[in-house]
Symmetry: C2
Subunit: 507 residues, 2 copies
């Protein structure tokens, strides 16, 4: 299906537009703009002459200043922009009133999930997770899990999977460093993930810095839930102990059944990665529309990625009405500014070569697309990385933007299903929760037909409106959460590692 439009101008006041496909020099776009050169798909064309140091505006937002004079019809690639200063955090104030967009009638208000007695959020899958205090135990545990998967799991047909929560943390780390609280909190909260059904199984070594009592409540520290490898006489005994505990946990998990639950028990993560200039036009707004529908239906939706919202932080503050929530937003942004500064970089380290190839010139432009996936609802809570929500509604979880780190941290915060928006295309997936791939352009869907679940490019072709696409995404999320649909990453077992964020030193 060919795009109806040659270019997309997001806001009437913009002085650039992006091309919906590769176009040759001499093509006429936007009525009176003649392309001065060949311009690739998703890249920007100047709609007017811009003087040196002039503002380049998209989304009615300053993407950057022109390094040299730019002619009407010229290709504006990332080399022509000077990044503006990051918005100051000193004057940030909460908004007075948040106006969520008008929504169509809610398609559904319930889903089929696994109710949890100790967690207000329900599971979308029924998984035995074997947690670890430290990387040291992983070699033994991987052997055990291969055995469990082959010989034991098949006897428990109501359990979807068994997984190792395998991480590079736990020892050889500065466990008392101020920032160590981040990975410790994340691993602690992961024990309570809604998809793990409250069955706790932890494998420790015995001499590590991350002691079991730092990860588990005292009521859990007993031989029902915790295996300390140094207490066992050799490899075969360790293997037997792990398999025996796993079988007990599987027996309990196998009794779980889905039931009809209100969407208020669903926690959805929204993430994007491998973005391009269409991200902010098609897929992220569709995800944002679905997010608004979910929130209206009572669900909780989490979005993240500090370096990708840093330049739009004022837009976020405008959608917060509580002063303490706004203060927490500021403190998370400040922490990250300082963290990058310690490493002698800043937010401009964010756009990737792929982003740039996809037409995203600066982190500002990327941010505008990224924020679109949060929709228009009020932001009711801001979480430090690895914290779990205490409120329902739209939540900002201040994690790194790295796909696999953000995904892991949203998982640690309890996301039971995730929407992953991509423009360039990544096969990223997680084992603990289903990840739905939503792409920005129809040609990516055609190219990666067995990886991309939903094609938001239909908005560009005029085939679907934003609202229609938003409803499609909403329904897909609820179907996947209910187990009636499987995204491709789940079908093919395309799972990334657990990559916990550890900003503290390795020792």
């Amino acid at each position: 299906m060919e795009a109806l439009l040659k270019t997309v101008k997001v806001d009437a006041r913009d002085n650039v537009a992006i091309l919906t496909r590769d176009l040759p020099k001499g093509t006429l776009v936007e009525n009176d703009v003649l392309l001065w050169e060949d311009i690739p798909q998703s890249h920007k064309v100047a709609l007017e002459d811009i003087p040196a140091n002039g503002k380049i505006i998209r989304y009615h937002v300053l993407l950057g200043y022109a390094k040299t004079a730019i002619k009407k019809g010229q290709w504006i690639n990332e080399d022509l922009l000077i990044l503006p200063k990051a918005p100051s955090l000193n004057q940030l104030r909460p908004g007075n009133h948040v106006k969520r967009r008008d929504l169509p009638p809610l398609p559904r208000t319930t889903f089929e999930g696994y109710r949890n007695s100790k967690n207000e959020f329900a599971g979308t899958r029924n998984i035995l997770a074997i947690h670890t205090t430290v990387q040291c135990v992983v070699g033994v545990l991987n052997v055990a899990v291969r055995k469990i998967r082959k010989e034991i799991l098949p006897r428990y047909p109501h359990v979807d999977d068994v997984m190792v929560v395998n991480h590079a943390y736990g020892c050889g780390v500065a466990i008392n460093a101020p920032d160590a609280k981040i990975p410790i909190r994340a691993l602690h909260h992961l024990l309570e993930h809604p998809n793990f059904g409250g069955e706790v199984m932890v494998v420790a070594l015995g001499c590590e810095k991350l002691r079991p009592e730092m990860m588990m409540g005292p009521e859990l520290i007993n031989s029902e839930n915790l295996i300390v490898l140094q207490d066992f006489g050799g490899f075969q005994e360790m293997l037997a102990a792990i398999c025996a505990m796993a079988e007990k946990k599987l027996t309990k998990l196998n009794e779980r059944r889905r039931e009809t639950l209100p969407l208020s028990q669903l926690l959805v993560g929204m993430q994007c990665g491998g973005s391009d200039a269409f991200s902010g036009v098609t897929a992220n707004p569709s995800a944002g529309f679905a997010s608004d529908l979910l929130v209206a239906a009572g669900a909780t939706v989490m979005f993240s990625e500090v370096t990708e919202v840093r330049d739009g932080v004022e837009l976020l503050a405008d959608r917060i009405t509580s002063a303490p929530v706004c203060d927490k937003l500021v403190s998370e942004m400040r922490w990250y500014d300082q963290y990058l500064d310690n490493g002698k970089v800043d937010r401009s380290a964010n756009p990737t070569p792929g982003n740039k190839k996809g037409g995203l010139s600066t982190i500002v432009e990327k941010a505008m697309g990224s924020i679109a996936k949060s929709g228009t609802s009020e932001i009711v809570e801001v979480l430090s990385p690895g914290e779990i929500p205490t409120k329902h509604g739209l939540i900002y979880a201040a994690t790194p933007a790295s796909d696999f780190v953000c995904g892991t941290m949203q998982m640690c915060s309890g996301a039971a299903v995730q929407v992953f928006v991509t423009g360039r295309g990544t096969p990223y997936g997680l084992q603990a929760l289903p990840v739905i791939k939503l792409c920005t352009r129809s040609d990516l869907k055609q190219h990666w037909d067995d990886i991309i679940d939903i094609d938001a490019g239909a908005i560009l072709t005029g085939e679907k409106t934003l609202a229609e696409m938003g409803v499609d995404v909403f329904n897909y999320i609820v179907d996947v959460a209910s187990g009636t649909k499987k995204p491709f990453t789940e079908t093919y077992h395309i799972y990334n590692d657990v990559c916990v964020f550890n900003p503290a030193p390795i020792t």
Copy 2:
């Protein structure tokens, strides 16, 4: 076998000794010292009255100052010591002359290895490694490798294994941060690992920050060696491409055969983890003796772990005769001091709860044991993390002390076999190279009979001398390198993750 001695005093000038087993209050040790209380195995007893702020000396080295007065016969646990200041780096000078200990005749000077045409070090195993530029590709690659292992590898009987070089690096990272050179260099050098036989296979995504040209020489960037997932039409095509390239590489690797090679082509890593107070008495000195034999036989031996040598840095400098090598030692120590300081910690973050349980009171005490595994040879080169040796002999590679990070970084520097000394016991192993477990105490060997390969506790019982044990360790290393012996981690496939050191920020 019962220990002959109740206590071990390392140096005649020490004012403490360690217990070879749990001993009750009232036991007489070292002729005239009556234990004032029950003291556990491997913990220290005061051999004389020590006043408050008095020096506590072991290895003829200051472990710390007494927090309160300590009576002769009292148990000195870690709560009674105040850590001394780290040795200054300002006055560090190379030694004049390094006297290696007298050695018995060399048992062997050759091994059976896989010669490499482009690497002066030979392989000890024949492995197909599939490298990755970024974590994003790992989900797809893991599926492919399961297929390769099941359907393709069995047709290539001369290849030992196929592995994914799976890491959490490559994107969502500050790729231009000054410290980013560490992980990039490490992954780059890993392509040349002696056990991978010069066959390069890299899987990239296409939009990541770690671009293939940052990891591979330009002569390698072609469709023979590099698969970019975004260039393939979906998951099934990716899978087919990975399997097809793997098969070509396996065909070549399958032609490799072991041949008799001089030990100068062997690169051995020495590491310790889960140390206890015996580490510096039994296992680490045995490893050190073997290290001296290896170096005398022309081999290259690498030891590491910055925070574990920081307090003994003067001992290291004494064993360096080249001023530039000494300068590099200083600069690596300074870098690490600063790195820890940025994270608001210092070297005291090192000892683990397990170390302390094992009688190691301070990082100084741990350091003395750790350094013992380097023997007495001259240190001919100092490497930054992930660098590869340019000299033969004893080399100090300045990596973190974390077992799995140090192991990974020694692997990236080309270690083809590793000796891992342990006191508390860890099942740590690596897939790319055999890891030999050497324990400090016979009761650990009895407890973990199918994990520990060599028991250095025989030194304590008087069953073997240090020299005899050193020769045993040397012979075991050469046998494992030659493929005639397999350590337990290899027998049972106990493999830890690749945990590359990335001190730069995540974005």
